[in-house]
Each structure stands twice: as C-alpha cells, then as structure tokens.
Symmetry: C2
Subunit: 315 residues, 2 copies
C-alpha cells in the first residue's frame, strides 16, 4: 500500500497522513503518538518561547525514532528562533503557515529539511513551488482555526493543476471517506487536525474534546471575516459576542483584545463558554476519543473500503 505515493517517500512515513500544526494543541505527546502510528506528527511552534519549544523537540525525539515535523508560523515574533531550533535539532519536516516559506527554504533546504507550506490558494502554491517547496498542504476553509475562503473540494484540484510537487489535502477531512475524496481530487496525502484534537494522547482539556465529540455539522462559526482574519471555532458565548462586536462595527483593536488568550483558555482550562474552541467543520464527523493509532487505522481502512466501493460505478 502507498508504494508509489510521493508523500510517503518524501516524508519516510508509512501512511500519508500528517497531523495539523495546531497552536497550543500540537505538542510532543501528540506528535509522537501520530508518528509512532505511521503518520507524521507535528509540533506547533506558534508563539512558543524558544526554551519551551526546544524542550518539546527534545521530548518528541525521546518518544519516537520516526520522522516528525514542526509547524512554523511565519508571522510569529518567535519565528526566527523556531527556525534556528528546527535547524539545530535537524527537525526532519517543517510545515509553514501565514506567509511564503522563502526564508525557511533558504535556511533549511541546504541541511536537508523537507519544507511544506500550508496554503489556501493556487497562486500561493505556484509561488511556493517556484521557491523550492517539497510539497504543499492545500487547506480548505472547512478547516479549524485560521482559514482561507476557498473550500477543499475546489482548492485541491486547482492546486494539483497548478504545481508538479505533491499536494496534501486539508480541511474537512476526518475519516476514510474524506481521505478517499482527497485522493480522488488528486491529492497524495491528507492533513488531519480536529480528529487528532480528540485523540487520547492529545493534552487538550477534556471539556474541549467532549464538545467536539458532541458537535454536529452546524456546530462551527467563522468569526473575524470583517477584520480580514477569519477563524473557525465551535459556536459558544465567545463566538456569539465576537460576532456582535463585528456587527456593531467595533474598532479592530477592541475586537482583537477581546479575542486574546481565548485559545489557551479553551485548551488549558477547558473554558467551553468563553474559550476559543477552534475546530473544523469535520467536528461533526468525530464520534469519540481514541488513541491516535486507532484514528489512523480507521482512516486508512475507511479510505480503502470507500475507494473500492466508489470504484464500482466505473466497472
């Protein structure tokens, strides 16, 4: 299986499933669990102080001898530190968000790091490919957290048409059907976020996990569109108040201050009313809390079954 899959070859992993680089969520424990299960676990550098990030990298290396990755948020004030840490520890794979990866490629390609930008339009994918990216994550707007405006269903084929490097589909993918659909659209791998938030090994507060498990397909809202920074999260008092601020045209400073610290409140304290429960539309497809290895096996088995089933029409 996946013998000719370019993502599996590029990342030296068993299954072409990578875990989303979710701020506050994607730590060494989760990354190690995903990598040990045959996918690619990722540690989110986000705005983490250098020492904390370094500890996470050392920890993941103690928990797995398989490849893992780091997600680097280009706009973060700590991005330069994270870049140097990725170099120092020879992190095998770096995914990048919020900006073009030129700087990361310049620093890390010479030392053999695989660099994969997370991208929300075909134009950006083309530019990243020209800069030398090894692959791209095409992230549709059904994803959780900070999102673009183009949906997975149309984003993936257009990025596949635009670049020759392999494409990993993200956004709305939580089970084998999603993986089968992503491959039908031309992707060669998938990135999964929301379902891994609910893995046993994820250190996310149980209240947050429970809220995802109970969510249906209408459970998410997008806030921040008027500020130009759309974010998808489970609907709660926080998203409702955020929407009200936007509707009455509150100054952007006021809205940003209102949103500050809310993701941490959700992840660490389990504040499900006033925390930002970032999650994708796929929350409705997440039915239980289970080990990362079970999640990966379920996705792979489902994808094989569904692909065979769907292929019957062509007989």
């Amino acid at each position: 299986m996946f013998e000719n899959n370019r993502i599996v070859k590029l990342l030296k992993i068993k299954y072409p499933i990578i875990q989303g680089g979710m701020a506050w969520v994607a730590d060494a424990d989760l990354a190690a669990a995903v990598s040990n299960a045959g996918g690619l676990g990722i540690i989110a550098a986000a705005n983490m102080p250098a020492e904390a990030l370094e500890k996470q990298i050392i920890k993941v290396q103690s928990l797995t001898d398989r490849p893992f990755g780091m997600n680097l948020m280009m706009l973060s004030p700590t991005a330069d530190d994270a870049l140097e840490i990725a170099a120092k520890y020879h992190v095998p794979v770096v995914t990048t968000g919020a900006g073009l990866p030129g700087k990361v490629l310049d620093r890390l390609k010479p030392i053999g790091t695989v660099v994969i930008p997370v991208i929300a339009s075909a134009a950006y994918a083309e530019r990243a490919a020209k800069q030398g990216a090894d692959a791209v994550v095409a992230e549709g707007s059904e994803a959780g957290g900070h999102i673009g405006e183009i949906n997975t269903m149309v984003l993936v084929p257009q990025i596949v048409d635009a670049v020759d490097i392999p494409v990993i589909a993200a956004g709305g993918i939580a089970d084998g059907r999603g993986m089968a659909a992503a491959f039908a659209l031309g992707a060669e791998g998938i990135q999964v976020g929301t379902r891994f938030v609910c893995s046993t090994e994820s250190n996310v507060h149980i209240n947050y996990k429970d809220k995802i498990v109970k969510a249906n397909e209408r459970a998410t809202a997008v806030t921040g569109r008027m500020l130009g920074h759309p974010v998808r999260a489970l609907k709660n008092k926080f998203t409702k108040q955020f929407e009200e601020l936007e509707k009455r045209g509150a100054p952007s400073e006021e809205i940003e201050a209102f949103g500050s610290g809310r993701l941490r409140a959700a992840v660490v304290e389990g504040d499900i009313e006033y925390g930002s429960l970032m999650a994708g539309q796929s929350a409705g497809l997440v039915k239980k809390i289970e080990p990362a290895s079970d999640i990966i096996q379920d996705i792979i088995n489902g994808a094989v079954e569904q692909t065979k089933k769907a292929a019957r029409f062509a007989e």
Copy 2:
C-alpha cells in the same frame, strides 16, 4: 456503468448528473440539452409568472422525450402556481429549494413525481426523508447563488450517514475529479450548476459566460451573510458595493433594494460590473464554453479515470 446506481434508476436517466435549478439560467433550452445528453435537465420556476413557466415546460417537452425536472423555490410567491403546473404537465422530477418539501410531496407523490429537496444540513435531510423525499441534493457552501454554511466535503458524508435515500452532491463540482470525490464521500449522483451556465445551449449572456471562463479559484465572494441570506457570486463592483453597505450596517431594506434585479441584469443584459454574476467556487475549474453533451462526457470520463487512478493506493 451505473448499473446499480440508485439515482440513475430513480430518475430513469443514463448518467447520475443533474443540472442545477438556477433562476433566470435554467430554461427549456438548457434543460433539454442536459437531458438529451443523458443527465437530468431542470427548469427553474423561481419567480417566473405561471404563463411563462408553462411555455417553458411545453417547450422542453418538444425538445426532448427524456426525463426532465423543475426546480421549485418554496418561498416564491409563485410557488403554488408552479406546483400546479408541475402536476398538470406531469413533470417527472421536482427539486425544491428554500424550505421543506412537505407541501410538494403531498401534491405530487400521489401522481408519481420524483421529489428531491436541495438541502444544506443533515437535520433538514432527515426531516425531508421522513416526509417521503425520494432523494436529496446535499448542497455545500461552495455552490453559486443562495448557499448554506456547510462545505460539500463534510456535508455529504454527514447526510449519507443521516438518511437511507440516495444523496446527490452539489457545490464545487465541475469536473470528473469532483464527481469521483463526491462518490468517495458516499454520494450516488452530482448536481452541476456553474459549468452548465457556460454550456453552448445556455441562454446566459456571453459576457457572463466569459467572466466565469476567465475566473480563478479566488474569483467569488459571498455577500448577504449579515442579512442571513448568503449569496455567492463572482466579485465585481456590485459585490464590492454590497459588502460596503453591509460593513457600514445599512438597513436591510436598503441592502435588499440595492440587490434587486441584479441577477437579471447579469443573465439577460450581460452587465458584468453591476450585475449579480452568481457562480460557485468551481468557476475556477470551468475552462471553456462547450455543448452540454461534451460537459457530461468530460465529467464521466474524468470520473472514471480519476477513480481508477486514486484506487491504486489501495492495491
């Protein structure tokens, strides 16, 4: 091919491809072209006066002896007239939008009409199935015109899980890859809108068609979210001004008056600056104007090829 496909059997058509019931666009010429090519062509009743609609039905019956459909907008002031015309002419298939189809089922099921609501959430799909709908169209928010908020990638599998009747996927599907992905998600048919707007047989103004052909994946905008009636269309001066009205919190009457008549201006007069060029995100996948039969063959051939290609990973 499609021997065990429930949509093909239910609708007595060759390929499980139905054409979207687009107001002002979906007329007898387009519907006949799609039906003659082996799909299901649909006439949009929208707000059409009874006599005009009747003429369209008589015309499509003169242009094809294959099954065709009518789309009935439940909230339209002319919906009751359209329902009686559907009954009078024994229109084989009726799709419904903007509301539950109870009334339509009561009137048309006894005379053997196939009734298929277009739906944007799993909860509505369940209710429509309980009312006796024969199938549902699961329409994701990548579609053009009036839309919901849930994307095709997550809407389709959740509706497939919620109901036993067959599911037709809509939103973001314009080529064989989209069809292959829809089937991977568990759909048994697809509805295509935007690509048929650009068919040779569509009577849409050439300016509008050209604008879709030239569009990329970022070409659409959603307006009306704050009014609770989101509409997706190609970005132009009209959508920009609409957004400005929304941002400054203009009264809904003012915004609605501003939007009135714009679709007609786009379709009939080819006003690409101030008309409402309703189109889905799949506009970026539409590359040329071609006959409806070529569109259908291209989708089918592409779906077969892509499904076989994607299935290789499971070997």
